[in-house]
């Protein structure tokens, strides 16, 4: 049975009232927590399957968002383990609550650490290009600016939802020299730039990243101009499912974001609006995580450390043994 709180979060995300993987994850975990506390299950077994069912439903909010998947898995895994050890329903409820809050806090802390580490890679006078909205990227830029490194940032408007305008607003409020450009203008300005920094919706086992549509083009342009490409992504964005062949799903959003012109639509025109694209590891110089800087090829090390079980992938018994031992204690 899907709880009302879960349904309302799913609806809010669908209506685009929330942006950014971190924000969505926070909302989903909060819903899972309140849902579980309101559970009427009497046996630990019923309670665990109730939590699992709601978690699976919440994951569908945004399949490409890996912190969401990882956060839900983190909570479910804690509950399953405690139930195996004979915890009561009341104890399990407390575990869901602690676990959800705990993951949320780790996610928040990771951004602080990423800012600290990422800012060290920036020099005074650097010209940066960024695309779409990323809490981690904003944190790095703000941190470097606070350290007295004068930066100049090119922000793409990021069609079709124009979240680049929000990025520009936040940077300008911080006093950072900010220039807004259209997405197509990146190659024109790349020669004047030193670094491209973007966030990630997901990092796959091979070090490829899934991020807002347009990222792959920008990074390809940067590589050819010998401009460094940094990806800011907490380890919670690394996807263990991809280790077992699962492809990260790229959702297509409403066509009205791209084309609202009724006259044109009447001409029987198709519109496609994929929200994300995949940047290959060859186009990434390094990934900045809260645990340090890694080359994209080392993503597999982080992926293997993620906690099982793989509740969201095709159930194939024994797959978890390929993952690290982080969950064995």
């Amino acid at each position: 049975m899907i709880h009302q709180d879960v349904l309302s979060v799913v609806e809010n995300v669908r209506l685009r009232q929330m942006r950014g993987g971190t924000v969505v994850t926070h909302a989903a975990l909060t819903a899972l927590r309140s849902t579980s506390l309101a559970s009427t299950a009497t046996s630990p077994k019923d309670f665990v399957s109730y939590v699992e069912e709601n978690a699976k439903y919440l994951r569908k909010i945004r399949a490409a968002s890996i912190p969401l998947t990882n956060g839900l898995r983190y909570v479910v895994s804690d509950v399953q383990r405690a139930a195996d050890k004979g915890a009561t329903v009341e104890q399990l409820k407390k575990i869901v609550s602690d676990s959800a809050i705990g993951f949320d806090r780790k996610l928040e802390d990771s951004i602080v650490q990423i800012a600290e580490i990422g800012a060290r890679r920036l020099k005074a006078g650097d010209v940066i290009v960024t695309h779409s909205y990323s809490s981690s990227v904003l944190a790095i830029l703000k941190k470097a600016h606070q350290q007295g490194k004068r930066l100049k940032v090119f922000v793409t408007e990021t069609r079709p939802e124009l979240e680049g305008q929000d990025v520009a607003r936040e940077l300008a409020a911080e006093g950072i020299d900010t220039t807004l450009i259209i997405d197509s203008a990146v190659s024109h300005f790349i020669e004047d730039s030193d670094k491209v920094i973007v966030g990630a919706e997901a990092v796959a086992a091979n070090g490829a990243i899934v991020n807002k549509i347009g990222t792959a083009t920008i990074t390809a342009v940067a590589q050819r101009a010998r401009v460094r490409v940094f990806v800011a992504a907490s380890t919670y964005k690394f996807s263990p499912e991809t280790m077992f062949g699962e492809l990260i799903q790229i959702e297509e959003r409403p066509t009205s974001y791209v084309l609202d012109d009724k006259d044109l639509k009447q001409q029987n025109l198709k519109v496609r609006n994929p929200a994300f694209d995949v940047t290959s590891p060859q186009d990434i110089d390094l990934i900045i995580t809260e645990r340090g800087v890694i080359p994209p090829q080392a993503a597999i090390l982080i992926v293997r450390e993620q906690k099982g079980p793989l509740i969201f992938t095709t159930q194939e018994p024994g797959l978890e043994r390929f993952l690290g031992k982080a969950d064995s204690k």
């Binding site: 069609r159 300008a172 220039t179 259209i182 997405d183 197509s184 084309l259 609006n273």
Partner: protein, 327 residues
């Protein structure tokens, strides 16, 4: 001062109601013809001064459209030559009108010729991709479709002015299936594409393509995916100044094309940069389709030498006369 009808054209070019390099060149030449016809000049010198004045006004409407100065050069070159022999102002008016009409006629047939030549490169079942709005590129697709080939076209919306909407509409009227995508989504769909076909605002002496902002990223994505890139360009798009080392100027347009003043004020103290064109290097272009035939990008110099000759010091002077004069 331009006559009223010519002034309307100049304003149309400036406000981008008149779009596409071919259309711009033809319209500018038409404005020059109107000016010549309406001239009340008493002497040959006064007439030339009047046309030179009009040329400057027209050149300033769109500093980066190479076709525009080439069109004006075509007419003015003949007017200057004609002045040596012309006995009356009326003779010179006839020369101007005839030169202008010849240019317009050639420019019109150029697009159709390019369409016929380029259409042979399109295969049945192709998936094409185009960026911005180019009459030459559309002519290729229209000719291919009318010759019975079936294909479909991805059209980018083309920020900030959405010229892709115009392209989509023109292709749909011909019956060609169209899928509209974001400029950002080009790389995402490139695996499904067989050929990229774009127009040109200018072709430089080394075969580089100056075209709508974003073109170079489209070409890069195609190059990486081993997708062919065709540029459809009339010979009047080739830039003779680049032969003598000049760089094609990249125009920056009004910031309010990107964001309204109200939204901008709301964001705070930021800058906006809005370059209108970018440069695609010749390595990313497979061929250029001109009305004289298909050339590899590195053959651009041949076209330039054929059309404009090898530039001498005197000719250089002439080009500078009709180049933009910076204030």
């Amino acid at each position: 001062m331009l006559p009223e009808d010519a002034l309307k054209i100049a304003e149309g070019i400036r406000d981008m109601r008149i779009r596409g390099a071919g259309q711009i060149a033809r319209s500018a030449v038409e404005a020059l013809v109107i000016t010549a016809r309406a001239s009340k000049a008493q002497t040959v010198q006064a007439f030339i001064a009047e046309l030179t004045d009009a040329s400057q006004t027209l050149l300033h409407t769109r500093p980066t459209a190479v076709s525009l100065p080439n069109g004006i050069r075509y007419v003015m070159h003949r007017v200057d030559k004609g002045a040596e022999t012309a006995k009356t102002v009326d003779d010179l008016i006839d020369i101007s009108v005839e030169a202008g009409e010849t240019f317009i006629e050639n420019a019109k047939t150029a697009v159709q010729r390019i369409g016929e030549i380029g259409a042979r490169r399109i295969a049945d079942g192709d998936v094409l991709l185009t960026h911005c709005n180019s009459s030459a590129a559309i002519s290729v697709m229209r000719n291919a479709w009318e010759s019975g080939k079936k294909f479909e076209v991805f059209v980018t919306e083309t920020r900030p002015r959405f010229q892709g909407h115009l392209t989509a509409s023109e292709l749909r009227k011909t019956g060609i299936p169209v899928t509209m995508i974001l400029d950002d989504a080009v790389r995402y769909f490139m695996q499904e594409v067989d050929k990229v076909i774009v127009g040109a605002d200018a072709i430089t002496a080394n075969g580089a393509l100056v075209n709508k902002i974003g073109t170079s990223m489209v070409a890069l994505a195609a190059h990486e995916a081993k997708v062919k890139v065709y540029a459809a360009a009339e010979t009047y798009k080739f830039s003779p100044e680049t032969m003598i080392g000049d760089r094609v100027k990249i125009e920056e347009r009004d910031q309010n094309e990107i964001i309204s003043q109200k939204e901008l004020d709301n964001i705070g103290p930021i800058k906006i940069r809005n370059p209108s064109f970018d440069v695609t290097p010749p390595e990313y272009i497979d061929l250029i389709i001109t009305e004289w035939g298909i050339i590899p990008p590195l053959g651009a110099i041949l076209i330039l030498q054929d059309v404009f000759g090898v530039i001498t010091a005197e000719e250089l002077q002439e080009y500078q006369t009709y180049a933009i004069q910076e204030e």
